[in-house]
Amino acid sequence: MSGAIILALRLILAVALYGFLGWALLVLWRDIRRQGISLANRRVPSINLTVRHGRGSPIVKNFSQPEITLGRDPGSDIPLIDDTVSTRHAQLTYHHNQWWLEDLSSTNGTTLNQTAVTMPTVLTAGDEIQCGDTRLIVNLSTNTLVSPTQKLEKKR
């Protein structure tokens, strides 16, 4: 009799041990899922770039992806037909709730508001980017500073 009771307790003991582990795994899995969903939900605030080559007429381009590349490469997000621009010249990336400009070791360099870009630099509205003979004016939409993830977290 005592043996049977203890056997039941021994089974409960195993359940508790694996309950702990199972619960830990479940929570870990939920973390991963939540992280994935929150990343998927994170919308990049749109950015407007006014591209002007030399004295040509300006073209306005609108982007909503987190990475924008500039260069002579036709596959670039902003293909530039300009001999003073390198194949992969510069890129704009969105992280830490901000747009960053980075020069990709281009031959003629990139400037931001007439200052050479040597390290990733934060962009603000109205900034002027110069790649070779091409000028780009940055125009950010108004809700840039509050990202959806932050909104979500505040609601919780």
Binding site: S2, G3, A4, I6, L9, R10, A16, F20, W23, A24
Partner: protein, 807 residues
């Protein structure tokens, strides 16, 4: 969110430990199979202390580390509670101490939490001061060192009953030093060797100190920590290769020059060579794991105390025995949870120092766990280190909790961007190596607990069998009229074998914890122990519930105690043997062998008995071999008449009579292996009596029997048949004729006295048997005396035969 996850996991841990404590409380009832026992209650103090301390620690982490990793504290709490309860179960005095150490560790843990930022900066700045004071304190053990157990390496500093092992925190100090040193040089891309010289010098110094101390487990952990740190810094795999080569060379050199390494390596390579000496610990540890099986024997129901130092070095074996493979895999998963979350904290760390520190701590915890568990399972040579969080030991527990504090602090990053990482491969590889190690350990556990368990548990040096004998009644040995011969007396927990008819000792044998088993107690062990004759479902169920076989079954022997006592009286102080057998059925009615001994006094006299030159432990009736001499005369006459047989004919006849082979009987028997000639042939009294039986039963040699029936729970008494068929050797008429020509004067039976000599010693044989016209059961008697005494042989023969026939 983090707080909720952490508190939920802690509740699971509390449930686990609560159930564990409950099982431990009730376990004496299962052991003794009655509710009327002393229940174990003292460990509840430990459980309550654990609960209070962990609640406080949980609150402190909520307050000081809002963004910490929520898995680390629950996993560490579970491991430390599990270890503490295991120590309470093994030894209450150490349980109290471990509980106190847990209290001290958690208080220091909380104090550290309230000053976390300062501590991290302090550690980084004063790395050299810290490590050198650590080394200095360790060096003090060379002069003031003691060992709390009184023997073994003196690695502790102590006073007034409190001992501290400086080499435990030294590991952590080395990790801190290496992390700080390497983090300061992270951006200097010089050739790496000159850069590493200071670390080499410091680590070398520490190693030297540990080698002088003979603390080889810690020394190998140092090498591993150093290697992994350099590997994480440089990202070059050849570092691992060089370290592996270095370690194996050191192992080979140590094997030939340092005693303790030699012992450990030999115990690892071939533990079966010296299971009671050099590899006693490891064999006992493996036996414990094997006894645990898949679900374990239950907390408090196994026998983990048989493993030496079960509270610290071999705590894994103790856990494996009582919680089984289910428990050990859970334990390994908990260790993996700490290691993997630690590595994630390392990768998320805000700067290089924290990153190296977290990875170093993971290495230290991981390698130490792998080394000691692998040592317990014979995966690696044994190293005397502790299992972090689990093993007994204040210094070990405190160091583990400081490591936990550092990991938790490092994991506490608020949405900061982690420090850049140039090469992620070393971290992936480290995680892979640790995971692989844990998987290898899980598979090794399964190997010993499932595949090898049956062999292991049947080993004669498995003390669990004799422990089970104290709790489960062993079957009785009864004579043919159900008179008890050997019985078990006492109550569950104190069962003891009692030998009611000690003169039969050399035949029925003994069962004893130190000297093992002999005689019928050994050959009938499976019945007497309940492993044979019981339904297999009952055996399985009892093993599952109690870890013991079911109650043993009684075995009835063919012996008759009335005739037996007569034979023992007659033989008295003379060396020799008597066998009285039913010539038709082969049942042995009497078997005496003198000199004999008293198995009730075996524990006091066992050693002297084994040394005794008159060999009282030998059963002369079945194992004593004596020259034939003229004893065979009636048998030769029955076959060949007055003609003299050739040697070949005689040999063929002896062959048929079974004199060249062992009789088939379920007790130890002997036969003359050394010769195949008829001249120097020696036979046992049993062989002789089987041959002589043909004169009293129509020329047929019977198959001998001594155990005739077993009392099973389902079918009552079940007959144990003879294991061989009777053989007709000569014609019935010839046998009868020969018997009649040897009629004893004035008696109703035949007899013959023969003599033989070997090694200047004269032996006397007496053969006797019933006549062909005897209406009762045909009997045959053989008396062998190790002296020249025809008178005594005749007297014994007449007295026993008269008694047997008039019964």
């Amino acid at each position: 969110m983090h707080d909720k996850k952490q508190s939920l996991l802690l509740r699971w841990a509390a449930l686990f430990l609560f159930v564990q404590s409950t099982i431990l409380t009730l376990s004496p009832a299962v052991r003794e199979r009655t509710w009327n026992v002393d229940y174990r209650l003292s460990h509840w103090v430990g459980f309550l202390a654990w609960a209070v301390l962990i609640i406080i620690a949980h609150r402190a982490t909520v307050k000081y580390l809002p963004e910490r990793d929520p898995y680390l504290l629950p996993a560490a709490a579970m491991l430390s509670g599990w270890g503490m309860l295991t120590i309470w179960r093994l030894d209450e005095a150490f349980g109290i101490r471990q509980t106190m150490w847990l209290g001290i560790s958690i208080i220091i843990f909380i104090l550290a939490l309230s000053n976390q930022q300062k501590i991290i900066t302090f550690l980084r700045r004063y790395k050299y001061v810290l490590l050198s004071s650590g080394l200095l304190i360790t060096a003090l053990t060379l002069i003031f060192g003691t060992n709390p157990l009184g023997i073994g390496p003196r690695l502790w500093l102590g006073c007034c009953g409190i001992y501290f092992q400086p080499s435990e925190p030294l590991k952590l100090l080395l990790v801190i030093y290496l992390s700080a040193y390497l983090a300061d040089r992270i951006n200097i891309h010089l050739s790496s060797l000159p850069l590493l010289i200071p670390t080499l010098v410091v680590t070398g110094l520490a190693l030297l100190l540990l080698l002088v101390q003979r603390d080889l487990g810690t020394a190998s952990i140092f090498i591993c920590i150093f290697t992994i740190a350099i590997f994480l810094y440089t990202g070059k795999r050849r570092v691992l290769l060089i370290a592996a080569l270095f370690l194996s060379t050191a192992l080979v050199i140590g094997y030939f020059s340092i005693d303790i390494i030699n012992i450990r390596v030999e115990g690892w390579l071939d533990p079966w060579a010296d299971p009671s000496g050099k590899s006693y610990q490891i064999v006992q540890s493996l036996l414990a794991v094997a006894n645990g099986g898949i679900i374990g024997r239950g907390i408090g129901i196994g026998s983990p105390l048989l493993v030496p130092v079960a509270i610290s070095d071999f705590i894994f074996a103790a856990i494996a025995e009582e919680t089984g493979l289910v428990g050990t895999i859970g334990l390994l998963a908990l260790i993996w949870l700490i290691l993997s979350r630690g590595l994630i904290a390392s990768l998320r760390a805000a700067d290089a120092f924290r990153r190296y520190l977290a990875a170093g701590i993971v290495t230290y915890l991981g390698i130490q766990s792998l080394l000691i568990i692998g040592g317990n399972l014979r995966l690696f040579p044994l190293t005397g280190v502790t299992l972090p969080f689990v093993s007994y030991g204040g210094s070990s527990l405190l160091t583990s909790f400081i490591a936990l504090f550092l990991l938790l602090t490092i994991s506490n990053v608020e949405d900061e961007e982690p420090a850049p990482l140039q090469n992620p491969k070393p971290y992936t590889l480290l995680a892979g190596m640790l995971a692989l190690g844990l998987v290898a350990i899980a598979l090794t556990s399964a190997w010993w607990a499932i595949v090898r368990a049956p062999d292991m548990l049947n080993r004669t040096d498995n003390p669990r069998r004799s422990i089970a004998d104290r709790y489960v009644p062993r079957g009785k040995l009864l004579d043919r009229n159900n008179q008890p011969i050997n019985v078990t007396e006492g109550e569950s927990g104190t069962y003891e074998r009692v030998y009611l008819y000690p003169d039969l000792a050399s035949i029925t044998g003994y069962t004893q914890p130190v000297y093992g088993q002999a005689g019928l107690e050994a050959t009938l062990d499976d019945y007497l122990r309940g492993l044979q004759g019981n339904p297999s479902s009952l055996i399985w169920w009892d093993h599952l519930l109690y870890g013991t076989p079911p109650p043993g079954l009684d075995v009835r022997l063919s012996l008759s105690l009335t005739l037996q006592s007569k034979a023992d009286q007659l033989l008295g102080g003379h060396a020799g043997a008597i066998i009285l057998m039913n010539a038709e059925t082969g049942e042995i009615l009497t078997m005496a062998s003198h000199p004999t001994y008293d198995p009730n006094k075996l524990s006091e006299e066992g050693e002297a008995l084994a040394q005794n030159t008159s060999a009282p432990l030998v059963n002369r009736a079945t194992q004593g071999l004596y020259p034939i001499g003229t004893a065979m005369q009636p048998l030769i006459q029955a076959k060949f008449g007055q003609a003299k047989p050739t040697d070949a004919e005689l040999k063929a006849y002896y062959q048929k009579l079974g004199l060249f082979q062992a009789p088939v009987l379920n007790m130890p028997v002997a036969f003359d292996i050394g010769t195949d000639s008829t001249q120097n042939l020696k036979v046992s009294p049993l062989q002789m009596s089987l041959a002589a039986a043909l004169l009293s039963h129509d020329g047929i040699v019977p198959a001998p029997r001594i155990a005739t029936a077993v009392n099973t729970p389902e079918q009552g008494w079940v007959v144990l048949p003879a294991e061989k068929m009777p053989v007709e050797v000569i014609q019935a008429e010839a046998a009868n004729e020969a018997a009649l020509s040897f009629i004893a004067k004035g008696k109703s039976y035949w007899n013959h006295v023969g003599q033989a000599s070997a090694d200047d010693k004269i032996f006397t044989w007496l053969l006797a048997g019933t006549l062909p016209d005897w209406k009762g059961a045909p009997l045959v008697l053989v008396v062998t005396l190790e002296e020249n005494n025809i008178f005594l042989a005749n007297y014994i023969g007449d007295t026993i035969f008269d008694a047997a026939l008039n019964q």
